[in-house]
């Protein structure tokens, strides 16, 4: 095979993997939008907050230590322990559940029956609040996240594919980051779990009922408030997974909250109400932007991925305004 052909395959595979990473972020948006019609602006910050909390637990950091030290003149920073990654992840899950309860009690409960734009504005406020709270609790310096996820190219794959190129050509084997492989497996497990949960559990069915028709769900006795807590908790856990995968690359810092920007074209393309849409949308965006950067990027100065993802999504939007898998909204007048 020619190296060019193999390189194109490599770009496509890496695009698919990158797409999975985008889907991980988009999933959180979809879950909340589906159940409550809220576009959760705070989803990116939730990923950051979850990752900060995870590192904080893992490294035994005292929450609010800067504040405590400033007020009481103390100098405490650490509990002096290091927790195993699994324990830290479980504790973070608990924090994200508590966070969901607080959001429901303090924000959503008071905004029932309000216009979607009001709820959206509330999530903007929530995002800024969490941003500040995260800094106050754990400090704004960069943190190293190490939960044992492997990183770097797969040597086995490189060696296995190195001989595929035409003899005499220069080819170094195919590159796929092991972190991306792990992210893909995690995303698959996550989607299967969410599907099983929504199909085969009582709560899951209630969740689907709320997603289909709020009023009808309320009329058969389903508690909207309980469902909101569950959905925000699940979205928080999904945000934590996204935070782990992205944070492993760059460390945990404010920029992690900007990964939400990568999810927007995925949502436009896949639809705001479909979990499969988030996955397929992510894959299309991932492959599309990587292929464009590979083929056209060098001719026009590169750095095309950010804007091309939106162009690609908009092209789809022209033909399917509700996204590939989104529900068509029909309003009768």
């Amino acid at each position: 095979m020619s190296p060019d052909f193999l390189n194109t395959i490599e770009v496509i595979l890496n695009g698919l993997m990158a797409g999975v990473m985008y889907s991980l972020v988009a999933l959180g948006f979809v879950l909340i939008f589906k159940a409550s019609g809220i576009f959760n602006y705070a989803q990116g910050v939730m990923a950051l907050f979850a990752a900060m909390t995870l590192v904080g637990f893992q490294t035994g950091q005292v929450p609010f230590s800067h504040l405590i030290n400033a007020v009481f003149g103390t100098s405490i920073h650490s509990f002096g322990w290091t927790l195993p990654a699994v324990v830290a992840v479980l504790l973070t899950v608990v924090v994200m559940i508590l966070f969901a309860i607080l959001v429901e009690r303090l924000v959503l409960k008071h905004l029932v029956n309000q216009e979607p734009i009001i709820l959206f504005m509330a999530t903007i406020g929530l995002a800024y609040f969490m941003e500040g709270m995260g800094d106050l609790m754990w400090g704004s310096e960069m943190k190293i996240l190490d939960v044992g996820v492997p990183q770097g190219g797969s040597l086995w794959l490189e060696e296995f594919t190195a001989g595929w190129a035409t003899e005499g050509s220069t080819y170094y084997g195919m590159y796929i980051d092991r972190l991306d492989i792990v992210a893909t497996v995690v995303a698959i497990v996550l989607v299967i779990s969410l599907t099983l949960f929504s199909q085969y559990t009582r709560t899951g069915r209630a969740l689907r009922a709320v997603a289909d028709d709020h009023q009808a769900a309320l009329s058969v006795g389903i508690s909207l408030r309980k469902i909101w807590v569950i959905v925000w908790a699940i979205a928080g856990i999904v945000a934590m997974v996204a935070g782990i995968m992205w944070g492993a690359k760059s460390g945990v810092q404010f920029s992690l909250s900007l990964i939400a920007l990568k999810a927007l074209p995925v949502l436009i393309l896949g639809g705001f109400t479909s979990i499969p849409g988030a996955i397929i949308g992510g894959l299309i965006i991932g492959v599309g932007e990587k292929l464009f950067e590979y083929g056209v990027g060098p001719l026009i100065g590169g750095a095309t991925e950010n804007w091309f993802a939106y162009v690609l999504a908009l092209i789809f939007l022209v033909f399917r305004p509700q996204g590939l898998f989104g529900d068509k909204i029909i309003e009768r007048v």
Binding site: K249, Q253, K290
Partner: protein
């Protein structure tokens, strides 16, 4: 009687206060929030801690207390300009915005207001030409010096011959990131290397395409002009594709502890340019500990002392204080204003004796500023990361850049600016 006495004391106090010398105001356009806070915080802490040290240890600058006016920009150009407008009326002596975007906006404004701007190692490179940019200073180095330092280092490790080698530049797709391209193109004509610029979009969280390209093309060296998360991801991706770290060289804004720590041991050997020393093995840090950190007067938690960006903030404040001292000397007054500060900056001389007296011997290069040269001689060095020890070390002396290539570029760019803005070039002796 008691009432009369109290009134008398109050009157004396009021008269005294009107004749008292006001504080010397140093605005700090910092960013402790936003995507670049990780870098902005240690820099702002270093800047403020040094001025606190001068107040606490020396009683101020020439006996006048220094006052820091901090304003949060979030590394946002618009907010930076708002901060400038909000603080310039407070007697601001010099602005150091730590942002190329903000610096570009302040060039015409500060010049019109008569307030100097010091963009140390960033900003508009051709501001080095003091005949055109009367109030803008970028000593001791600029980006084009940096590009030349990197190429000089590659020349050094290749015995002076890099013809046929390939050098890629991974750059932040912004005015800042694009700064070295022209210089590197000119240097490639001179030295015969092949140059490939590779852009990364803000913020730089996703760089898979760029590093797949590097893996395919296998350049001999990769240079980086990054900031914030772009640095950490680039170093991680370089490690992932097993690019030799000793052939990966970042600009001084891509060479802090924050940039290398996420990649762990795999970042070992990564190099970055610098224009000042590393670590905290200087007497001045004992004073910082005694008078600032232990006294509970540190701007931050005190845990950043000695890190690259803390040291850079400290160095920026030190150069501002030294320029203020020169201004006081030139004008024979302790209560200097922005115009006098500008004169002090233009007559600044930093030599080893002065640095030793300040408790920071050999920390920065010797340089002097004059009317026509606001950028100094452009001396820079190379530092390398030891991941085991978790420390940077200088692996070269402070060496000059290739002015044969850079000076014509500076003349061309500054002349174009002068023509465009109808600025008459200043005569310098």
């Amino acid at each position: 009687m008691k009432g009369l006495k109290a009134a008398g004391i109050a009157m004396v106090a009021a008269l005294t206060s009107t004749t008292a010398v006001a504080d010397l105001v140093f605005p700090s356009l910092s960013y402790r929030t936003g995507p670049y806070a990780v870098n902005g915080i240690p820099y702002a802490d270093g800047y403020e801690d040094y001025l606190t040290l001068v107040n606490e240890r020396d009683g101020g600058i020439g006996g006048v207390k220094a006052k820091v006016l901090e304003c949060e920009t979030g590394y946002n150009t618009q907010k930076g300009v708002e901060c400038y407008e909000a603080t310039k009326g407070e007697g601001a002596l010099v602005y150091q915005p730590l942002s190329t975007g903000i610096t570009y906006q302040l060039i015409p404004k500060a010049t019109a207001d008569g307030i100097p701007v010091h963009s140390m190692g960033y900003g508009r490179t051709s501001a080095k030409n003091g005949k055109v940019f009367s109030h803008i200073f970028n000593y001791p180095v600029n980006y084009w010096d940096g590009a030349s330092h990197a190429v000089n280092h590659i020349l050094d490790v290749n015995g002076g011959d890099i013809a046929g080698k390939t050098i890629a530049l991974v750059y932040h797709n912004s005015a800042y990131g694009k700064e070295p391209i022209r210089t590197l193109e000119e240097l490639s004509k001179k030295h015969g290397y092949k140059f490939t610029p590779i852009a990364v979009d803000h913020p730089g969280q996703e760089q898979k395409s760029q590093w797949l390209q590097i893996r395919r093309e296998r350049p001999d060296y990769v240079l980086m002009w990054g900031w914030g998360v772009m640095n950490q991801v680039a170093i991680q991706e370089a490690a992932n594709i097993r690019f030799p770290m000793e052939n990966f060289i970042g600009i001084w804004w891509s060479g802090s502890e924050n940039d290398v720590l996420p990649a762990g041991i795999k970042a070992n050997g990564y190099k970055a340019l610098t224009f000042h020393g590393v670590g905290s093995d200087f007497p001045i840090f004992d004073d910082i500990k005694k008078y600032v950190v232990d006294a509970g007067k540190a701007a931050g938690a005190g845990d950043q002392v000695g890190t690259v960006l803390y040291n850079r903030g400290l160095y920026a404040a030190l150069l501002a204080v030294e320029a203020a001292k020169v201004a006081q000397e030139i004008h024979g007054t302790k209560d200097i204003n922005a115009a006098q500060m500008r004169d002090g900056m233009e007559a600044l001389v930093i030599d080893n004796a002065k640095m030793e007296a300040l408790g920071i011997p050999g920390f920065g290069p010797e340089f002097s500023v004059d009317c026509g040269n606001h950028g100094g001689p452009g001396l820079g060095a190379v530092q390398q990361w030891d991941a085991e020890a978790g420390t940077w070390s200088l692996i070269s002396d402070f060496a000059p850049s290739d002015m044969d290539v850079i000076q014509p570029l500076i003349d061309e760019d500054s002349s174009a600016f002068a023509t465009e803005n109808k600025i008459e070039m200043k005569e310098c002796a």
